[in-house]
């Protein structure tokens, strides 16, 4: 098959698929993990606020929370792991 077409198709695949590394909406300057507050503390704070926490993961040095908030809305929110303060997210 024509090598130019092969090369073009390979380039297309690579360019679409390799920007997968940074998918987060926020990053935190959070220091070593030893200084981080436990996830359970964040969950407790949010539950007291009326949130139903579905999942907490680490993303970009922050805690990323998937929950249904007190108004019944699905939310994806970021929190600083040391201060547990909310972190604003960049628009998608």
């Amino acid at each position: 098959m024509n090598r130019r077409i092969q090369g073009l198709l390979a380039a297309m695949t690579i360019s679409v698929c390799t920007s997968v590394s940074a998918t987060g909406l926020a990053t935190c300057d959070s220091g070593p993990k030893s200084g981080w507050q436990p996830i359970e503390k964040l969950e407790k704070q949010l539950t007291e606020r009326g949130w139903a926490v579905r999942r907490v993961k680490q993303d970009g040095g922050c805690y990323e929370v998937y929950a249904i908030d007190d108004k019944g809305q699905r939310v994806e929110a970021y929190f600083h792991p040391v201060t547990l303060a909310p972190v604003p997210t960049r628009p998608r």
Partner: protein, 192 residues
């Protein structure tokens, strides 16, 4: 020998719609409103294609062009030996590509739509399934394009023009033209 309309307008429109919405969904993979809308559109178009593939007019039905695995394997071997037959409808390998693309598209769209429900929001296994079904499309779509270009060159016909524009191909078994707006330069030379 005359031009036969193999792919009617609705099928060509569905194909264009699927191509554009799938690429849009993959391009907005990080999420957001556009990604969700593209995903819903993919789901709607796939369901339409499935309905027409099982209950629509003959050339569009899956039974018309999807071949058994052994037949497909024979075709693949013949292709490797550069002696494969030219098919008027999708060739056996192309047919299975259609099946795989529709399946992955539907799977990704359904898992994505479920993820946006209150019941399944945040479920790690669901979003993992969604990614697992969607990312292979990054390899399969270029492979599909490569297959179309290869078949076009092998059988000296413009398959891209046929699927995106006029839907017609030359066939020996027909005597009358079916008002296919195809010019002289699209006529392939004698079939091998």
């Amino acid at each position: 020998m005359a031009w036969v309309r193999v792919w009617p307008k609705w099928q060509r429109l569905l194909h264009a719609g699927l191509a554009l919405t799938m690429v849009a969904a993959l391009g907005t993979y990080e999420g957001g409103r556009l990604h969700e809308l593209a995903g819903y559109a993919v789901l709607a178009l796939v369901l339409l294609r499935l309905a027409l593939g099982f209950g629509g007019p003959m050339p569009a039905r899956f039974t018309a062009f999807v071949r058994a695995p052994l037949v497909t394997w024979d075709y693949a071997r013949a292709l490797w030996q550069r002696r494969e037959a030219r098919h008027l409808n999708h060739n056996p390998l192309g047919a299975w590509m259609v099946v795989v693309l529709l399946s992955l598209g539907a799977g990704a769209a359904v898992t994505g739509a479920l993820y946006l429900t209150d019941r399944f929001w945040g479920e790690a296994w669901l979003i993992a399934a969604h990614a697992l079904l969607a990312w292979p499309l990054c390899l399969l779509i270029p492979l599909h394009l490569a297959g179309v270009i290869h078949a076009s060159r092998r059988h000296r016909e413009n398959l891209v023009g046929a699927m995106w524009w006029h839907g017609c191909k030359l066939d020996e078994s027909w005597d009358s033209a079916l008002s296919c707006p195809v010019g002289r330069r699209d006529q392939p030379s004698a079939h091998e």
